[in-house]
Amino acid sequence: MIQRTPGHRFARIGLTLISPRGAVFLLLFVLLVAITVINPHFAEPGQAIRFVQRVAPVAIVAIGQYFVIVSGEFDMSMGSLVTAQVVIAGNLVGQDDSRSIPVLLFMFAFGAAIGLVNGLITTLLRVPSFIVTLGMMLALLGGVLFWTGGSATGNPADGFRQIGRGGITGVPVLGIIPWSVLILGAVLAAAIWFSRQPFGRTLISTGDNLTTARYAGVRVWWVKTSAFMISSLSATVAGVLLVGYAGVHPSVGRGYEFIAITAVVLGGVALGGGRGWVVAAAAGAFALEALFTLLNFAGVPSTLRDAVQGVILILAVAYSSATFKRPGRLPSPKISPSPEKLPHPATDAVSTAPQSSSLSR
């Protein structure tokens, strides 16, 4: 059907780099270069790998959030869930290494359950996911704090914490390969694999057009629910890593839902669903953390970081929405009152799906 010449391919790569799909990689590259200029140590393998280790939890959460957003929903409960899992680990594992495995299993079961609840309420009761997960965010955190009397008894056993803290030591060049780096790699690989699987593709198509998916015989409720379960499970993994990296504290995981959404959006993923690449979402997380590190090295007062983050966020999204305009290749007729464009009053009154006009504006 079409010829692929090398030139063609290069053109494609160039195009990808400036397309919203690839812009995030450009941004990330620029930031990393800037950091290295300010502090050459950063480029040393040992330092670099540490950076990756630090980003791992955020990136994993972003990957989870990606699947929810691409399916056309939001998950605001991720931050609370991370905190919950951290505290659970602290309280249930305690100093007894032998409990690690059972507790780990419990945590994943718990995470899956939270995702299931989010998903079912969203799909079956048709409550906007933003509200569902907002409610979950409040209830979950409050519940955990109540259960623990505000703070966990203590850090879990070191064996458990090694997952997030330790790694394979004595590696030439790198010095250490942290477990969390390997886990991030695994999660990312799994995510890429999943989004190429029939189910993954179906999930994306469902986010693109709910009705079409329904008429194609897709179990929409299950597809979306599983997206929520994926995000909850990724929050669980992040929790396991963080309890190792940082230890137990009610503030661990605070604000992760917004960090994740920000990262995903930086990755050029369109809110409202059906559009975006999981790798770019992960890259968004790296770009965000790189930004913070840069500001640290540059000695910018930590109070100003929010402001910079805000500016970058707006610019990045403005850029991608500007380049997402329809190409003029095909002369598409001007606004025509065809049913495709104008939902029938009767049906449009029902529309609660986020991909309805308003959210994709």
Partner: protein, 509 residues
């Protein structure tokens, strides 16, 4: 009372989409107080002509004169401000807003800078009164009105620009028999107000009832314009159809035999359809005719489990099963090529491949790889032209999109295929491809139900024609029945009785 000066005249209008000529040098004059009928098959160019006059499209060549002065509209509102209003088939209404708010959207009357709701309500009521409508409350939410009432709101909206020209695209399409009479009344009143009316309709007897001039279009070109008095139904149909159907519609492939019952519905019914008894046999193409809103699409949705039947039974290949979700239907080997491609058939931001594999991945994931290998073959056999299977579907032409939808379903090797308006808005080439495909499917023993508003299509393709009216199957006609017979059945073949209870009836909606 028809004056000799045209208010609006179109001169030599032409329009092409994606290289397909949809309108070719068409001219037409509208006179005050006259109703001008515009007829032709689907795709003859009626809607395009209307949309050009309404400022939705711009013509590639030719011009539109209003009161003898050339006008070029780039936005419908410009046309409306000039008193050239259009009532489209699809409603442009906000269901959450009141009738008055919809009628005056963007032009809310103001006093001292503030919207004068009382005035707005009053004005709306007045307009409705002019149309002789007393049963629509300007304050009621449009979402709570029935289709006929919404149609009236649309007309009122047009009238509120105190339009001197009103084009109506299939105004009765969505209306039940008794409501048609209501519309007649409205049209006649408009006529009395010296409004020039362009009336587009498939219902020939309507055209004869209302119009004093009739223009016939075919394949985007003008066939004839003349007084209605000089025409009769047969002549009109001859001019519309022109070409003998057989040459256009591929004949049944030799060796196709009608086999056992694939799909059987007995006493089926739900909120939208009633008393449906229906049998589809393998190798058979059954046409389902009927006016828009007669429940054809609803029947399709019921058979497909999208809006399940609440009464009656469905059996596939003799095995009864409760068809309560599209998934069930797909698993049972049923495919539904929906009426609305973009809203129900495709994921526009996804690639050609993703769309082709949509159903397989969603319902038979195990077969994905095997099918993926076939996809390119299927696509090329359907002559889908795209920049590779990676291209996003939104950039394909309507015809290619439709072919892709077919490919999507072929991938599932269905045994029953329901086509809902399969050739709507696609070019002739694509149409023929679709017809070919249907024949081949029939040869392969697939049972086919084809819903269509194009009578020639129904007649040309069907082995058997079912006609729906008002949510019920009202007639079963043999292949090759005449358009008139079908149309008669479709309009409920009971001459509409003008009675006072019409308002009451509608008020119920």
């Amino acid at each position: 009372m028809t004056s000799q000066v045209p208010i609006l005249s179109a001169q030599g209008l032409s329009k092409r989409f994606f290289g397909v000529t949809v309108l070719d040098d068409v001219s037409l004059d509208l006179y005050p107080g006259s109703v001008h009928g515009l007829v032709g098959e689907n795709g003859a160019g009626k809607s395009t002509l209307m949309k050009i006059m309404a400022g939705v499209y711009e013509s590639d060549s030719g011009q539109v004169l209003l009161d003898g002065r050339a006008v070029r509209y780039t936005h419908p509102v410009q046309a409306m401000r000039d008193g050239v209003a259009t009532v489209f088939q699809e409603f442009n209404l906000l269901p959450e807003r009141s009738v008055a708010q919809n009628v005056f959207l963007g032009r809310e009357p103001r006093r001292a800078g503030f919207v004068d709701n009382r005035e707005m309500g009053r004005a709306t009521a007045a307009l409705l009164a002019e149309l002789g409508i007393d049963f629509i409350d300007p304050a009621s939410r449009v979402g709570t009105l029935c289709v006929a009432e919404q149609q009236i709101v649309e007309i009122t909206k047009a009238l509120s620009f105190d339009a001197r020209v009103i084009s109506m695209d299939e105004p009765t399409a969505a209306l039940a028999g008794n409501e048609v009479e209501l519309l007649y009344g409205i049209v006649r009143r408009l006529q009395k107000r010296n409004v020039a009316i362009l009336y587009v309709s498939h219902r020939l007897e309507e055209v004869f009832d209302l119009c004093d001039t009739i223009t016939v279009l075919k394949d985007g070109a003008l066939v004839s314009t003349g007084p209605a008095s000089e025409l009769d139904t047969d002549e009109l149909v001859r001019r519309m159809v022109g070409r003998s159907i057989s040459t256009f519609y591929p004949a049944r492939v030799a060796g196709t035999e009608t086999g056992d019952i694939r799909l059987a519905v007995a006493g089926g019914g739900n909120a939208y359809v009633a008393d449906v008894d229906l049998e589809l046999r393998s190798g058979e193409i059954v046409g389902l005719a009927g006016l828009q809103g007669s429940g054809r699409t609803e029947l399709a949705e019921a058979l497909f489990g999208a809006v399940p039947l609440t009464a009656g039974t469905i059996a596939v290949d003799g095995a009864a099963l409760s068809m309560n979700s599209p998934r069930r239907a797909v698993r049972a080997g049923i495919a539904l090529v929906t009426e609305d491609r973009k809203a129900q058939g495709l994921a526009l931001n996804q690639s050609v491949l993703d769309n082709a594999l949509l159903v397989i991945r969603g319902v038979f994931p195990a077969r994905t790889d095997e099918v993926r290998r076939k996809v390119p073959g299927v696509l090329s056999s359907l002559e889908v032209s795209s920049r590779g299977t990676g291209q996003e579907v939104q950039y394909l032409s309507g015809g290619n999109q439709q072919k892709l939808v077919l490919a999507k379903w072929l991938a599932t090797e269905p045994r029953i295929v329901i086509f809902d308006e399969p050739t709507r808005g696609i070019d002739v080439g694509a149409k023929i491809a679709v017809y070919q495909l249907m024949r081949e499917l029939a040869l392969a023993g697939v049972a086919i139900l084809m819903i269509s508003s194009e009578l020639p299509e129904v007649i040309g393709m069907s082995d058997r024609i079912l006609v729906m009216h008002d949510g019920r199957i009202t007639a079963e006609l043999p292949a090759g029945s005449s358009e008139e017979t079908v149309m008669l059945a479709a309009t409920g073949h009971s001459p509409v009785t003008p009675t006072g209870d019409v308002p009451v009836e509608v008020a119920r909606g």
